[in-house]
Symmetry: C2
Subunit: 469 residues, 2 copies
Amino acid sequence: MAGDSHHPERSAVAALAEEFLAGLREWLTIPSIGVDPAHHADVHRSAQWLADRLRADGWPEVEVWDHGPALPAVYACWPAADPGAPTVLVYGHHDVQPVDPVDRWHHPPFEPVTSGDELLGRGASDDKGQVAMHLLAVKAHLAATGRNAPGVTLKLFIEGEEESGSPHLRKLLEDHRDDLGCDLVVFTDTGVHDRDTPTVNTGQRGVLGGEITFFGGTDDVHSGRAGGAIPNPATALARLVAALHDEDGRIQLPGFYDDVREPTERERADYAALPFDERRWLAQNAGGAQAVAGEPGYTTFERIWVRPTAEVNGLSSGYTGPGLKTIIPASATAKISFRLVPDQLPENVAGQLREFVAQHTPDGIRAEVSFRGTGVPPYAISPDDPANEAVRDALELAFDQPVRFARAGGSGPAAVLQAWLGVPLVYLGATLPDDRVHAPNERVVVPLLLKGAEAAAHLWRMLPERLTR
Amino acid sequence: MAGDSHHPERSAVAALAEEFLAGLREWLTIPSIGVDPAHHADVHRSAQWLADRLRADGWPEVEVWDHGPALPAVYACWPAADPGAPTVLVYGHHDVQPVDPVDRWHHPPFEPVTSGDELLGRGASDDKGQVAMHLLAVKAHLAATGRNAPGVTLKLFIEGEEESGSPHLRKLLEDHRDDLGCDLVVFTDTGVHDRDTPTVNTGQRGVLGGEITFFGGTDDVHSGRAGGAIPNPATALARLVAALHDEDGRIQLPGFYDDVREPTERERADYAALPFDERRWLAQNAGGAQAVAGEPGYTTFERIWVRPTAEVNGLSSGYTGPGLKTIIPASATAKISFRLVPDQLPENVAGQLREFVAQHTPDGIRAEVSFRGTGVPPYAISPDDPANEAVRDALELAFDQPVRFARAGGSGPAAVLQAWLGVPLVYLGATLPDDRVHAPNERVVVPLLLKGAEAAAHLWRMLPERLTR
């Protein structure tokens, strides 16, 4: 085919595809569920599998960083032939989500199966598939260019705690500051907009999660004895939650929007140009929600990508079993998480929530607020950044079509990596929003993974000319 | 003592007290927990124990009504010597509450113990103690008057399903319409205001309990995928709960207050004259609540006795385990119960709640409302009713001090009995608000039970002259 002759990377990927898939399937059989201590040995096995594979692929420097308390990360380096070439650090993770509810899987989650052009199994998309994609990319890059070293110095940093919220990432970065030095980070844990619409992701929201508990008395009280004459913590908490948004859905924490960066006209135009089928989005991306809703003046994509949000994740109070218990509960708890956008900082929002709770705690109620960790900061990079333009051009070569910029609504350690390493961070991924990551029957679309590998191979070739050192 | 010579009933009660306590302790060893099917055999044993005791006491007519599905009730009748004497039906129950949390009891709940002037055990106060009080009262009445039949025709109706909400009471009343005919009901499942303040109860609030569920999507959704762009059922439910009361705590169901009967000046004056120690009330009656709160313009007693209330009994939505799950829940549920006052009807309030929920269900949310049974109607009788004045006078004789009228904030089948039997219903009881009924370490104050028995003995003597037939 004509395309193949123009893009030797494409031919190289095609030639290596079968071997690539066999390896990925083998890796997917290892249940590296990092959040489950019963599977920590599997996380170690997974790291070892990856290290062995990298060595077999010819990576000259491969290490398993396994000095607790962090679950093992895999580090590898392949220096460029040209000592002046830029250094790129590829970030991904090899731990996977739990598989509950396991009875909703159509096959055992760690016995991957192929169906049409899909590969199904836990981790196929998030994130083993995309890490394996990079291993393939390097081999294709070398084969296509006929070199025995990549065009850029490549470093791989594949952590084992992403699904646990990367609790030891800062420590790993600190301990390995010298190893991890680079000119650019390529973050590989996001994907493209849809099968027919390749996109470059340019950011992720941050997240801060916490818990608010309102205490009334020391015990639940029979509502016949005191109902109507003492504060009900469940009612008080409902009033606080109701006050969290105004009628338009704007979040009422004091100063919450002060640091919110509005999207540029160019970004808004890019998002508006993406195909959006509301019914399909509700069914496939929004858990079967019945309607869209949100902040006026913003589209659905803007609401989930560039606007912050406050969501109740859980409520609990009093009696919740079958039937009825006519009590005034002693306490009520709401779990609430905020998705944050640049330039909001989780620590500032934590303070705003404490202030908001203090303002909304009525007489006779005592409030407790706690947070899960320190939160994840948001991250975004301009579509105009030269590295981002290089990624876009690499994807256009691989997909043979124009590529737009988009963002992701979820969260990841991009801002931490960027801040710690002090270099730009770009996203390169080829998975889909409806890959059922974190859910039963996770899958990856194999032709997209191959396109992603081709794009990465293009990128390693192109970057030395495109990166301003 | 002078008192004894004036009140032969008092001497008779004192002479019978030891035998009375021995019998009650025996009955309290039977764990007749009606709500627990594992204890249904014990409910049968309890009914049999009572029937045997009544026969031993000389009641000429004793039946165990044990034709399911109702748990067994005990019926007994002792005709007055004078065929023209009025007939009084005494209502009580022999089923008891569960004992959870059992580890907070200081002794096994069904091995009653004596401590000072208290008898401790499940059912000591609610309601076996008060039923036994009536058995003692009849014996004392006969002994004091030297007769071999009571001054009024006495009927006992002691049901076995009160703690289950009396689900078959209407059926029992229907099946035994001829047996249960009477001129007055004496309801014995409430008590006096405090140890030093004897009172006659004149009413109970009704209750209607239900559950509201808001449904969003079919599945929980990762808040990174859709957060900010779809309705959150937990937030929507919190807004509904917040809207249930206005800033003054007035309930916002449409028409909710239309049928509410204001207390009379005499009733308000009676309640205002009762001793009230706010700190003690909060600690002993309100589960250690930190402050009183409620509808402006009403005292605490008015708020719990003569004003209706809406209380959230439970909230549940999304993830409520340890840590955090950043989801938008698929649904959210609130259990809510209303305490009602005359002349509110549970069926009307059910309709008002359905209307309120419809008004407060936002786009994209589907609501379901369900009720537990048909509710319990409120009941109150005027302090000026001649039967009520007779009860007050009987209590004044027994307690040697003035007796005021009060009410109870809880609920019971008084209205059902009154409506079905078509005669006045008065309350006679001698338990205390801090008897820890429905809670660990339930107790009854024995000298108060003996006063109650004396008052009942006075009442059976006095009633023929006092009751207008």
